[in-house]
C-alpha cells in the first residue's frame, strides 16, 4: 500500500511536470465539445436534414443533451488511449520498469498506479467538459445524477483498463501512439460519440455495435438522458473491464 501510494504520488508529480501533456489532456475534451457541438449540436430531433428525411436521430433527445455524456467517454479515452499506453510502453522500453522490478515492486502496484493516475486526470478533464457543456451548449444536467456518477465510475474503469491493455500488449511506443490515436478516433466516429448512429451506413453501424466503446457510451448516456440504468450494456462494460484488465495482467512484461 505504501509503495502504491508513493509511486502514484510520484507519477502524478511527474505528469504535472510535462506541461504539453497536461495541456493536451485538459484541452482535448474542451476542443471536442467546441468542434463537435459546432458540427452536430444544432440538430434538433425533428428538424434539420435528418428531420426532413423522416429520420429520428438522437432517439428524439436534444443533440446537446445526447452528446454531453458521450463526450465524457471521449474525454476519458483521450488520456486512457492516447497518453497512457505510450507512457507505459516508454517506461518498458527505457528500463524504468526494470528498475522498479529490481526493487521488488509487484506488477499489480505498477498497473494500479497507472490506472489511478489515468482516472484522476481523466476525471478532471471530464469535469471541465461537463461544466463547459452545462454553461455554454445548453445541455441539460443529468436526469439521474447519482446513477450517472455510478455509470461514470464503471465506464471510466473500463476505458482505463482498455488503455492498460494497449500499454502492455503493444510492442513499441510508436505503435502505442498510433494504435491509441486510432482507437480514439474510431470511438469518436463509430461508437456514438460523433455522428449519431442513425446516420451511419449499415455496415459501419454494425461494426460500431461490436466495438467495446459503444456500450460504454450507452451506459453513460442512459442515466443522463432518462435517469435509467441500462443493465445489459453495463454487464458488457464490466466484462470489458475485467477481460482487458486480465489481459493487461497476463501480458505485462518488465522489459
Amino acid at each position: 500500500m505504501r509503495a502504491l501510494g508513493r509511486l502514484t504520488a510520484t507519477e502524478l508529480k511527474l505528469f504535472l511536470r510535462e506541461p504539453v501533456t497536461v495541456l493536451f489532456t485538459l484541452a482535448l475534451p474542451l476542443m471536442v465539445l467546441y468542434v463537435l457541438n459546432g458540427v452536430f449540436g444544432d440538430q434538433s430531433p425533428a428538424g434539420g436534414e435528418g428531420g426532413e428525411a423522416g429520420l429520428v436521430v438522437y432517439r428524439g433527445f436534444d443533440a446537446a443533451d445526447w452528446y454531453t455524456p458521450a463526450y465524457v467517454a471521449l474525454a476519458v479515452a483521450g488520456f486512457a488511449f492516447i497518453a497512457l499506453p505510450a507512457h507505459m510502453v516508454e517506461y518498458r522500453e527505457t528500463g524504468v520498469l526494470r528498475r522498479l522490478q529490481a526493487s521488488g515492486v509487484p506488477r499489480g502496484v505498477v498497473l494500479l498506479s497507472q490506472m489511478i493516475i489515468s482516472l484522476v486526470v481523466a476525471t478532471v478533464g471530464a469535469a471541465l467538459l461537463v461544466g463547459a457543456a452545462l454553461l455554454f451548449t445548453g445541455s441539460s444536467p443529468p436526469a439521474g445524477t447519482a446513477l450517472f456518477f455510478g455509470a461514470y465510475l464503471v465506464g471510466a474503469v473500463a476505458v482505463t483498463s482498455l488503455g492498460l491493455m494497449l500499454g502492455t500488449v503493444l510492442p513499441t511506443a510508436r505503435a502505442a501512439q498510433s494504435v491509441g490515436l486510432l482507437a480514439w478516433f474510431v470511438t469518436l466516429f463509430l461508437s456514438g460519440a460523433g455522428p449519431p448512429p442513425e446516420v451511419l451506413p449499415d455496415g459501419l453501424r454494425r461494426i460500431g455495435e461490436w466495438l467495446p466503446m459503444t456500450p460504454v457510451v450507452q451506459v453513460l448516456q442512459e442515466p443522463w438522458l432518462t435517469g435509467e440504468w441500462v443493465v445489459r450494456q453495463s454487464v458488457v462494460v464490466v466484462a470489458i473491464a475485467a477481460v482487458s484488465a486480465a489481459i493487461a495482467w497476463v501480458a505485462y512484461r518488465w522489459e
Binding site: A3, E18, G95, V96, A102, G104
Partner: protein
C-alpha cells in the same frame, strides 16, 4: 562458512538459444565476485536467475539460504540490484528517486543519509535526465543500496562511461565492499574484473570456462612463459634440451625460450653451466588479458 550464493548446474534456454548451460559458482561473504565474458555469453541471464528475476529451466540456486524462485519476496529485501539497461523517468529528481525507492523496501538507512554518502546531496533537485553518465551510475548504485542489502548485483556498470567516470565507479564499488556488502559484478571489461574482483568466473557461450582468483586464472590457463635474453654469437642449441622448454627461437641477437613456468631457473642454470651470463634476461608472463582472450577464443572480435 557457507557461501552467500551457491549456483549449481544452472541452465536456461530461449527458444533455440541455449543462453546458459550447466553454470555453477559460489560467492563468499564480503568478496567482489566477477562474471566476466563477452556480450551474449549468458552472464546477465545467470545473475537474473540468481536474483529470481528469471526462471531457470534447471539447476539449483541458493542466495543467503533462500530459493530465489519460491522466496523472491523475502530475498528482495536482502539484495540490491543495478540491472543492465535500467533507467529512471527523466523528470524524476535525485531526492525524489531516493525517497521513492526507499519507500519500496523499508528498513534501510534514511534516504537522505544515503544521498549524503554518495555525494548526491547537491544534486538533490536535479532531474535524472540532466545528470551525467557518472552521476547517473552513482544514483543507481545508491538506489541499489537504499535497503542496506547484504548482496548487491551490479550489471555492466561502466559501459558507455568515459575513463574518468569508469574509475570513479570502480571506487564506488570498492567502497561498497569496504562497508561489508558482498558484490556480484557482471562485466565484459577485463581490466575492470582484474582491478576489482577477488574471484571471478569467465563465461563464454553460456558455460563457465574458468574460475578462480585473477592470479589462479593466469597460473592455470597460461600457455607458459617466455625467457628472453641477448646472446650474440653464442651457441644456444643446448637450451632445447632443458626440462620443460617447448621451443627456442633466435631473432638477430635475441633468444626467445618458451615453455612451462618452471623453465626459468633451469634455463638460468643451463646458461651459467655453459659459461653464459646475459645481463638482460627477462621473463615475459601472460597477463589476465592474454588468458581471457585465449579462453573466449577471440570470438568477441
Amino acid at each position: 562458512m557457507s557461501p552467500v550464493i551457491a549456483v549449481d548446474a544452472l541452465s536456461k534456454r530461449y527458444g533455440d538459444l541455449q543462453a546458459v548451460s550447466d553454470v555453477s559458482f559460489e560467492v563468499h561473504e564480503g568478496e567482489i565476485f566477477g562474471l566476466l565474458g563477452p556480450n551474449g555469453a549468458g552472464k546477465t541471464t545467470s545473475v537474473e536467475c540468481v536474483q529470481g528475476l528469471r526462471h531457470p529451466d534447471s539447476g539449483h540456486v541458493r542466495v543467503l539460504g533462500l530459493d530465489p524462485q519460491t522466496q523472491a519476496h523475502e530475498l528482495r529485501s536482502l539484495i540490491g540490484a543495478q540491472l543492465q539497461e535500467s533507467s529512471l523517468p527523466h523528470r524524476l529528481r535525485v531526492g525524489e528517486a531516493l525517497e521513492l525507492f526507499s519507500s519500496f523496501q523499508p528498513g534501510g538507512p534514511p534516504w537522505r543519509a544515503v544521498m549524503q554518502d554518495w555525494g548526491l546531496t547537491e544534486k538533490a533537485r536535479a532531474p535524472f535526465g540532466s545528470l551525467s553518465g557518472g552521476q547517473r551510475q552513482r544514483l543507481l548504485v545508491a538506489l541499489a543500496l537504499v535497503n542496506n542489502p547484504r548482496v548487491v548485483f551490479l550489471d555492466e556498470m561502466t559501459t558507455g562511461l568515459d575513463p574518468a567516470a569508469r574509475r570513479a565507479t570502480w571506487d564506488l564499488i570498492e567502497r561498497i565492499r569496504q562497508a561489508g556488502t558482498t558484490v556480484v559484478l557482471v562485466t565484459h571489461f577485463m581490466d575492470e574484473a582484474h582491478r576489482l574482483c577477488d574471484r571471478l568466473a569467465v563465461v563464454n557461450h553460456g558455460r563457465v570456462v574458468a574460475a578462480g582468483t585473477p592470479g589462479d586464472l593466469v597460473a592455470n590457463h597460461q600457455d607458459g612463459v617466455t625467457v628472453r635474453f641477448t646472446a650474440r654469437g653464442a651457441d644456444t642449441g643446448f637450451l632445447a634440451g632443458v626440462p620443460g622448454v617447448r621451443d627456442v627461437e633466435t631473432e638477430g641477437g635475441q633468444v626467445l625460450v618458451r615453455g612451462a613456468p618452471t623453465i626459468v631457473p633451469h634455463v638460468g642454470k643451463a646458461l651459467v653451466d655453459h659459461g653464459l651470463a646475459p645481463d638482460d634476461m627477462d621473463v615475459v608472463r601472460p597477463t589476465l588479458e592474454d588468458v581471457y582472450l585465449r579462453l573466449v577464443d577471440g570470438d568477441e572480435a
